[in-house]
Subunit: 147 residues, 4 copies
């Protein structure tokens, strides 16, 4: 699939996620193993100090990881786990999350993501993430568990 | 501060977060080192398969961690990093995130969180998280960095 | 399998790991979804300040996670990822890592671990960890990857 | 400090860690925000299948993160938390862990690490890690905690 079609397909998926639409997420680039997802900053995604809420930053990282992994695992995937370090308050005009797959096996990919905030035309790093994207069948629980 | 007042104070903070209000988060319990945060399931917080979006589950974990840590670090805190494992699709009526501090020092607390989804009156575990909550001054960046 | 036999089997596995023998690890308890692994403190496992090296603490967490997951996933498993927070320097006589599975599916289990250091008969928490234990076939890489 | 002196200083620190000497770790490069640490593969660091034990891979990642962070935080540091994804069994002649600081503030740095295994002269990625390196005073516990 060429990259223009890949991006269209990715944008169509995003449009099916009510939560992504609620916060105004936009898929800006998608290629095998790579993704760029934006969230324009608006009042509704802030926390009490006027920064973008950490939950939105982690959403952006999580979703970008899923897309980057999805392109190398044939789409039907979920982020099964991830870790995020917030390094700077997200104050600016737009979140930009760029993720890439650093490893892909048959059923899982390991991806990394950098989240920047765009401030007066300059990108500043505000979070870094790393996680696992898994094909869906491996994530559907089959048996319950000790607690 | 008694727990009723602590909870009121916590709820007042939550009401100052536009993003928490956007997704309908509710603080149900708060005591030293412990927090319970709910998010009623609504169409707007879903992804394309009708599950609660992972970004909302991670928001709930992140915010619950922050509150649990805030109660042992005198409130002005942020979650500086966390990790989450999603273990089951969140399908149900309500997310319930319960966090607790497992360690608190002068400037940081380490907290854990379980996120359940309430289905027909039964709680099912859908994610587990662990992270660091830091007093705000240690998180304000002072110098930039090698990249 | 009764627990005495389960423990014997676990100890036999441990004895096959040259690295576990090198640092003196001991498996003290094993039951479905739970494990307790010890590492007696000795000069050779320290770092420059006389604390147990973080690498040994993370080894203990990692291996305890693997055992806890292995008991619910039929043994042929690896820890595929984990996260650890060090909360206190490990100074004492013995590391005690206790792990438990908090969720188990067909091919993966999510486990948590607390690592204590025994000091004058008292256990002090020195690290907490959380990670994924996977059946081996899902971890054998089949195809390479974008970088 | 020039890089040759920086590397000498780093090697002197490593030599003070009995555990690093036990497993044969070598510091090969050190510059502001960057570190390269090696562990030659030997029988004593393996697990039962002949792979390098995950605990050694995580040691390499942890210690490389500490060095990378130490160079930007004035040396007296510890890794306070990290996360690692194992992506391929470590079978080969030598582990090579390369870490870099992606963000540095006054008291903490966030670093990433790639761990490769050298096989017939070719480097293969076997793990990726991300974590926080903290100046020592912020990590010395001052008060105990809710459990």
């Amino acid at each position: 699939m060429n990259e223009a079609l890949l991006l269209q397909k990715g944008q169509a998926f995003l449009a099916l996620q009510p939560f992504s639409m609620l916060i105004g997420a936009e898929l800006h680039a998608l290629s095998p193993g790579r993704c760029e997802l934006h969230v324009p900053v608006a009042e509704k995604i802030l926390q009490q100090n006027g920064f973008v809420h950490g939950g939105v930053v982690s959403y952006a990282a999580d979703n970008a990881l899923t897309y980057a992994g999805g392109t190398v695992l044939d789409w039907a995937v979920v982020t099964s786990e991830f870790k995020i370090n917030y390094v700077r308050p997200a104050i600016g005009e737009r979140l930009i999350a760029r993720a890439q797959a650093v490893y892909a096996g048959k059923s899982q990919a390991v991806c990394r993501c950098d989240v920047f905030v765009l401030v007066n035309g300059e990108e500043k790093l505000c979070a870094v993430a790393q996680g696992t994207v898994a094909r869906l069948p491996t994530n559907v629980p089959a048996q319950d568990t000790p607690k």
